[in-house]
Symmetry: C2
Subunit: 213 residues, 2 copies
Amino acid sequence: MSSSPATDNAENSSRADRKRAAILKAAQEVFFANGYVGASMDQVAASAAVSKQTVYKHFNNKGALFREVVTNVVRARDAGITADFFNTSEGSFEDQLRDFARFFLKGVMQADVLRLRRLVIGEAARFPELGETFYDLGPKRATEQLATALRETSVRKGFILNDPEMAAEQLLSLILSIPLNQAMFLGEGHVFTDAALDRYADEGVRIFLRAYT
Amino acid sequence: MSSSPATDNAENSSRADRKRAAILKAAQEVFFANGYVGASMDQVAASAAVSKQTVYKHFNNKGALFREVVTNVVRARDAGITADFFNTSEGSFEDQLRDFARFFLKGVMQADVLRLRRLVIGEAARFPELGETFYDLGPKRATEQLATALRETSVRKGFILNDPEMAAEQLLSLILSIPLNQAMFLGEGHVFTDAALDRYADEGVRIFLRAYT
C-alpha cells in the first residue's frame, strides 16, 4: 500500500529539514576546525554525509552557509529581552537586572559562542560581512532590545535616562567585557566557574544602578 | 685608513639593530597579510631583504618573532599610567581621568593595534600562547597599573574602593568596550572620529565616577 501524496510531502519536507540541520552542524565543526578560509563545501558535504549538490541546494555558497551557522549559534543564545521584561517579572528592578545579567553572560560565554566570536573577529579584516552578520544578530540586537526595555523602565520608575542606547551599551560592557576579553585572548583552557561569572554580572549591575538610579 | 675596533663594534651593533628593526617591520606586515599560520620565515626574510639565516640569528622561530611584534605594537601604545599620575597632573580628578581615558582609547583604537588584536584573537584557540602574550602586555598590564593608581588616589581623596582591580577593569570596560567591540567585528571600513571616541571616553568616566565617588 502506497502512502498518500500528503504524507509523502510531509516526509520529504522533514527529510529535507533533517539534512539541512545535519549540514549546518557539520559546517559549524568544519568552520571551527579550519577557519573560514580553510573550510570547503566538499568537507562540509563529506562530514554531513550528503552530496555536494545537496549542500548547494540548501546553501548557495560558503558565505550563505556561514551566515546560517552564525544565525543558529547566536540566535540560540538570544537574550530574549522584551520591552516588558522588567515590567512583568517579579522582584525589584535590581533583582530583575541581575537575573538578566547572569543569564545573558552565561549565554555569551558558552564555548561554541566564544569559538564563533574568535573566528569571526579573526576574519573581520578580510571578510567584514561575516563580522557584520555576527554583530547585527548578537551585540547590536541585544543593545537595541535592552535600550527599549531600559527606556520604558526608566519612565515607569522615574529615573533619568537621556541616552538609553548608550546606557544599554554601558550596562552590557559592565556585565560582559571583563570575562569576555579574557576568554577572547586566553583560549579554551581558560574557564570560569559559574560563581565567577555571577560575580562579574552582579558587580556590573551594581555599578550601573549606582550611576543611573 | 681603517677605522678603530671600537668604531667597528658600534657600526656592527647599529647595523644589527637596523636589521632587527627591518625584520620586525617586515614580520608585522607578513603576519597582518597572511595570518599567523600562513606566515613563513622565508616571506619575512624576503620582505626585509635579509637572508633567512639573519632572521633566525635574531629570532629563534616564528613564535619568538611574533612575540616581539606583539611586544613592539602593544608597548608603543602603553598607557604609561603610574601610581602618581593622578597625584601630580593638574586639574580635578575627573579632568585627569578624562585625559587618561581619551588618550588610552585612541591608543587602543590605532589601526595596527586593532589589526593585531583581531589576528591574536583569531588564533587564540589554536595558539593560546599568542593570546597570552597580547593579554599580559596589553589589557592585564593596563589593569594592574590603573588599579594601583586608583587605589592610591582613593586613599588620598577619601573615597571607598574595596576592590581596585575590579574597579580598574570596570573603568577600562566603560571606556573601551563599546567602540572596540564594534571595531573587532566591523573591520577596517568602520572608522570613528576623534569626537566619537572622546564621547565614549567621557561617558565612561562619568558613569565610573557617579558609581564610585
